[in-house]
Amino acid sequence: MIIDILSSIFLLVGAALGIVGGIGIHRFPDFYTRLHAIGITDTLSALMILLGLALQAGWSIAAFKLALIFVFLFFTSPTASHALAYAAQHSGLKPKLDQK
C-alpha cells in the first residue's frame, strides 16, 4: 500500500518533469534556453520514473535492469546536452539576447 503510493508519487513527479521539459522546449525562444529546459529536467524525470517502476517491480531482476538503465541515462543524457551545446557554440550560434 505504502509502496504503491510512493511509486505513484514518483511516477507522477517524473511525468510532470517530463511535461515541464516538453513545454519548455516548445515555448522557449532560442536553442540555448530550450536546451536548458530539457537538459535539466530529463535526467531527473528518468530517475523518478525508473524509481517508481522499480518500486513496483520489487527486489527482482527487473529492478536491477531498471537500475542499469538509470546508470546508462545518468551518464549519457548530460553528455548529450553538453555535446549539443558545445557543437552549437563551436559553430558560432549566439544566444538570443533581449534587445534594449
Binding site: F72, F75, T76, T79, H82, Y86
Partner: protein
Amino acid sequence: MRPNLILHVIAKFVIPLIILFALYVQFHGDFGPGGGFQAGVIFSAAFILYSLVFGLETAEKIIPHHWLRILASLGVVIYAGVGIESLILGGNYLDYTLLGSNQIAGQHLGILLVELGVGITVAAAMLILFFAFAGRGRE
C-alpha cells in the same frame, strides 16, 4: 577539431556497454525481445558513436572498408548456408528441424545461426551506409 575530454571519456565508457548490450540482444533473441536485426543496428551504433567522437579516419582504421564488404556478404552466406545445409540433410530450405538431434535442438541451433548471419550483415551494411554518407565530401 579540438579534442573534447568529456565526450572522449564518456564514449570510452559507453561503447563497450553498447557492444555488450548488442551481443545480449543478439543471443537472447530466442528467449526475449531481440534478434539479429536489432543487434546489428545496436552494434553498428557503437562504431558510429566512435567515429562521431574520435573522427572518421580513426574509425576507418579500426574497420577498413574492404572488411565491411566481406562481413556484409559473410552474413548472407551464413544465412543461405544454413538453408543449403538443411537441403543437403534432406529437408526443405531453412528446415531447422534436421540440424540437431531432435526437433527442439535443431530449431534452436538453426534460428541462432540465421540470426547471427542477419546480425553480421545488418551491422556491416549500416556501417557501409554511414561511412558512405559521412565521407561524401572527402573525395
